[in-house]
């Protein structure tokens, strides 16, 4: 809560330091001073900073009101602008995340299982390629050539479900690579630990060991980031969304800052900081669920 308060207040103050010309639309050069000053006054920009900040918090806390957009879509409630966009981004992001987890984790598990063998090398090649090539290169490749080869539309079309395949593919590729890489790494780490050797020595089959012990333990460090990643899919992907023309959130924050839509910037900063805080909390809870050794409440005694 304190983090959110500080972040929002600082951003609020910084936005007030910018030049005022954007508030006058295209008429900055020809508008009379009387009208200019009136516009700034109506926006409350002539009040001392603590009054402005106070008003902002009062409105937010008492009425839950984030205000209205002043540039992007004049007069529209910020929330009404953000929610439809966030829905799109979340839809794509969440589906992509499912693929990232399903394919990424199973790839990592298999790579660790057959470490040093052909599948492992193939997987490593994929990870290396995805990480080494700039995303723009393979996104464009997919949009232009893969769409042609498979006969898929180059752009997202709302009522054409097939058109969602390529954007989701693009969104998944990076995540698959990193999920596989970390899964493999943590599993390899675990496999060399003593308790695994003991389990093997006790006569457990290697697949039993891999799934009951290695994978479960390897998953713990990754569990923490899952909720944050899932929640942050609503922020959208700037590049993929603009490439495939998806009406999502990607770029909305940047546009709002560039066009100096203060209320929009505040609304989005609030949203993102809330996501970070909630995501971290959920992450801790996830860790607790996965790992019985971790507890959120203090346990007395044992040392």
């Amino acid at each position: 809560m304190i983090t959110m308060f500080l972040v929002l207040s600082i951003v609020f103050m910084l936005m007030r330091l910018l030049p005022t010309d954007t508030y006058f639309g295209g008429r900055s050069d020809s508008m009379s001073d009387t009208v200019k000053e009136n516009i700034l006054k109506q926006l409350g920009l002539f009040d001392p900073w603590y009054v402005q900040l106070g008003n902002f918090w009062k409105k937010l806390l008492l009425h839950g009101d984030l205000g209205e957009s002043i540039v992007i879509q004049q007069g529209a409630k910020c929330v009404d602008l953000i929610i439809p966009k966030a829905k799109w981004s979340f839809q794509f992001g969440a589906i992509a995340m499912i693929f990232q987890m399903l394919i990424g984790y199973s790839m990592g598990v298999m790579m660790a299982r057959w470490k040093g063998r052909f599948f492992d090398s193939l997987g490593n090649l994929y990870i290396l390629l995805i990480n080494a090539l700039p995303a723009a290169v393979y996104f464009l490749f997919i949009q232009i050539y893969v769409s042609k080869a498979l006969g898929l539309p180059m752009l997202f079309e709302r009522y054409n479900p097939v058109s969602r395949i390529l954007p989701i593919l693009c969104l998944s590729l990076g995540g698959i690579a990193s999920n596989a890489m970390w899964m493999r790494r943590y599993m390899v780490d675990q496999m060399n630990l003593d308790y695994i050797r003991l389990a093997r020595a006790k006569g457990m089959t290697s697949s039993q060991v891999a799934f009951r012990h290695v994978m479960r333990n390897a998953f713990i460090p990754m569990a923490q980031s899952l909720p944050t990643t899932l929640l942050f899919t609503i922020s959208g992907s700037l590049y993929v969304e603009s490439l495939f023309s998806i009406p999502g959130m990607g770029g909305l924050l940047i546009t709002s800052i560039q066009r100096q839509d203060n209320t929009m910037v505040q609304a989005m900063v609030l949203l993102y900081s809330a996501i970070s805080v909630i995501g971290l909390l959920l992450g801790d809870i996830m860790m607790m669920i996965c790992d019985p050794r971790i507890s959120l409440t203090k346990k007395g005694g044992s040392r």
């Binding site: 910018l18 639309g25 020809s30 009208v35 009136n38 109506q42 879509q73 007069g75 009406p247």
Partner: protein, 680 residues
């Protein structure tokens, strides 16, 4: 559908027969759109499907017709009192006719003044409609609706960006300021709107009273402050008014039937429109696409859009392919005038860039030297500069005056052809020899003053635009022609966000390119940027140009709010503009006086005309540019009245063939209107 086309064709043929009789221009004379222009689309080239398809890349930011200053989204949804025809002449729209007269009024100081009263007789029986075409109760478009608009705009609480456009209405500015004070609690009684010179005389008669005669008043009416608003609806909607397609009322040619944010909006022809015979387009489909500009050319080839700008980088490819070359044509020169400025109030950091030291003192000394300024004026190669925007026909876009061609005319002559401007228009403004003569004189004079060479000029440019190339080409060209030991340009790029606020307005440059667009149909509009109160070149700061004074001096005017808080008087340019604009009856006299003002500006070489870069380049379009309503300001060109969708996009050959026909027709009509003493 088929029936309608048959009817359309029949009408076309009939009008062709009639139009063919009295026509003087060339062409076959088959006319549907374009109000009898020989440049209109011939019947055989009319598309069966009258559907316009467009891509847009940024969401509609202003739905409120009362608020925006530049949005044209609803240009087709609401009509104004007057509108432009396809030759650029004002004609009746919601007003059927009008009269104007002078009258005497007592101003705030108690002095007797001569004002001007316009009375508009409205078209009767036009009813307000909802987005779906249903009537909004029994509400008609009446005179009171314009009063509602003015009242809203002049209420400071609404923060309208257009309030100052009404300040020359009697009592308007005082009302606005009084309302501010009332809002702040300084005064107790709410000011009475009846003191403002905008009144409904009767249901269908609207009176507008101006503090002084305004010869170009009609052209101002096509701005959004001149659009009607239904008071009942405004009150009913409250805060929701003008936030989407359902919270505005319609009385125009199209209805915005569907809109989904970041997705699409669909406009359909309004079957109840009063002038439906002139509306040929049935449907306008606007599809959202974040990459609209990049994709439009490909989409056009597939037949998915009606219009596409061809990016400069792709023109070559399109022109080389014979099939594609048939689909494109040059853009009609835009109405924005681009020019180079010499800054007389430098504020940039006096830093060292690439080994060259920026110095205010050095630049001010140079800028104060007329010969130095003239050496740049005559030493700038305009054609080469414009080539950065259009390498194929740069001459088309060259300007030798600030006022562009085809803007206004008197005595059968275009403003730019007036004798006063001959010195600048009848010869190329790129004459190296002449420039070098001025350079030599400047070196002599400046050296005597102890100024060192080269003069270091700071030139900012916008990084994400064609300005990058322009800045390089222009700086190298001038340095090559005049010598880099005479002038050395130091370039620095700035992002597009707040570009003008950071560079030009702040005085953060020595020499840079900028532009101005007209606000109304009068040469006075082109004097605005260089006058006191504007942030262009601050040339009242030149030695001996004007007298500095303070805010207590009644004659003093502020340099520019926020950027130049000094006060000035006796600025000859200001005085000349005031004198020229005092002539309100004899248009010919008035225009010639403004031509003199412009000659004075150019002669001082503080600004150098460049071209109409805004409309540079090629495009592909199924619409005929000579049919569209034409005006260099307002929203006329976004209206679909008179236009038809063609079977194939217009090619370059046809465009070049039709352009002079249209220009001749336009000149003809203007001359006729002037001869008849008609307002246009």
């Amino acid at each position: 559908m088929k029936k309608w086309i048959a009817l359309l064709l029949a009408f076309a043929m009939m009008s062709a027969v009639f139009a063919g009789c009295g026509k003087t221009g060339g062409g076959t004379g088959n006319v549907i759109g374009g109000q009898g222009s020989a440049a209109a689309t011939s019947a055989e080239n009319i598309n069966e499907k009258q559907v316009v398809k467009l891509l847009y890349h940024s969401e509609i930011s202003d739905w409120n017709p009362l608020h925006p200053s530049s949005a044209s989204t609803w240009a087709n949804w609401i009509d104004s009192l007057v509108e432009y025809d396809n030759f650029g002449l004002c004609q009746p729209c919601l007003a059927e006719s009008w009269t104007k007269e002078s009258f005497v009024y007592i101003d705030e100081k108690g002095d007797e003044k001569e004002g001007q009263r316009w009375i508009f007789k409205l078209r009767e029986g036009i009813r307000w409609q909802n987005y779906d075409g249903s009537f909004y109760g029994e509400e008609e478009v009446i005179a009171e609706d314009w009063v509602t608009t003015a009242k809203w705009i002049l209420n400071p609480a609404n923060g309208a960006r257009t309030a100052d456009l009404l300040f020359d209405f009697i009592g308007a500015e005082k009302y606005f300021k009084d309302m501010q004070q009332f809002e702040d609690g300084v005064i107790d009684t709410e000011p009475d709107f009846a003191t403002v010179g905008m009144k409904a005389v009767s249901k269908y008669e609207l009176s507008m009273e101006l503090t002084k005669a305004c010869p170009y008043f009609l052209s101002r009416l096509t701005y959004n402050w001149g659009y009607p608003t239904c008071a009942k609806f405004l009150e009913e909607q409250g805060d929701r008014f003008g936030t989407n397609n359902k919270t505005i009322l319609y009385c125009g040619a199209f209805l915005c039937k569907e809109w989904e944010q970041n997705s699409y909006y669909i406009e359909e022809r309004n079957p109840e429109y009063w002038d439906i015979e002139d509306i040929h387009v049935e449907r306008i489909e606007n599809l959202y696409n974040a990459e609209a500009n990049t994709l439009a050319p490909q989409a056009l080839l597939r037949g998915d859009v009606t219009y596409a700008d061809i990016p400069t980088t792709q023109i070559d490819e399109w022109l080389r392919d014979p099939e594609k070359a048939k689909l494109i044509r040059p853009n009609r020169p835009g109405s924005y005038s681009y020019f180079y400025l010499i800054n007389c109030m430098p504020t940039y950091d006096e830093k060292k860039i690439d080994g060259y030291q920026l110095s205010h003192a050095q630049w001010i000394a140079a800028a104060n030297n007329l010969n130095f300024r003239k050496s740049l004026f005559w030493g700038l190669d305009r054609i080469r500069a414009i080539s950065c925007y259009d390498p194929y026909t740069p001459e088309t876009y060259e300007l030798r005056t600030i006022t562009p061609e085809n803007f206004c005319a008197a005595d059968g002559k275009d403003f730019t052809d007036f004798d006063e401007l001959k010195e600048f228009t009848e010869q190329s403004q790129y004459q190296v020899e002449k420039a070098c003569e001025y350079r030599d004189k400047a070196i002599e004079e400046l050296t005597a003053q102890g100024v060192t060479f080269p003069i270091v000029a700071y030139m900012p440019y916008m990084t994400d635009s064609s300005q990058v190339e322009l800045a390089q080409v222009v700086s190298q060209q001038i340095e090559n022609d005049l010598g880099s030991d005479y002038i050395k340009f130091v370039l620095e790029g700035y992002p597009s966000t707040d570009y003008l606020a950071i560079t030009r307005r702040a005085g953060n440059y020595s020499f840079m390119m900028s532009y101005w667009g007209p606000d109304y149909a009068d040469p006075e509009t082109w004097t605005d940027p260089f006058n006191l109160g504007q942030a262009y070149n601050y040339w009242w700061h030149l030695d001996g140009m004007a007298t500095q004074t303070d805010e207590n001096d009644p004659d003093g005017r502020k340099g520019r709010r926020e950027y130049d808080e000094t006060y000035w008087k006796n600025f000859p340019y200001s005085d000349m503009v005031r004198e020229a604009s005092a002539e309100v009856n004899d248009l010919s006299k008035r225009y010639h006086a403004f031509a003199k003002v412009e000659a004075y500006l150019l002669d001082n070489a503080v600004v150098m005309p460049l071209g109409t870069l805004g409309g540079c380049g090629y495009l592909s379009s199924y619409m005929n540019p000579f049919e569209s309503q034409f005006a260099p300001f307002g929203m006329s060109e976004d209206r679909y009245k008179y236009q038809v969708v063609m079977k194939t996009p217009m090619d370059t050959e046809t465009y070049l063939e039709k352009l002079p026909i249209w220009e001749a027709e336009r000149a003809d009509r203007i001359a006729k209107a002037q001869a008849e003493g008609r307002d246009y």
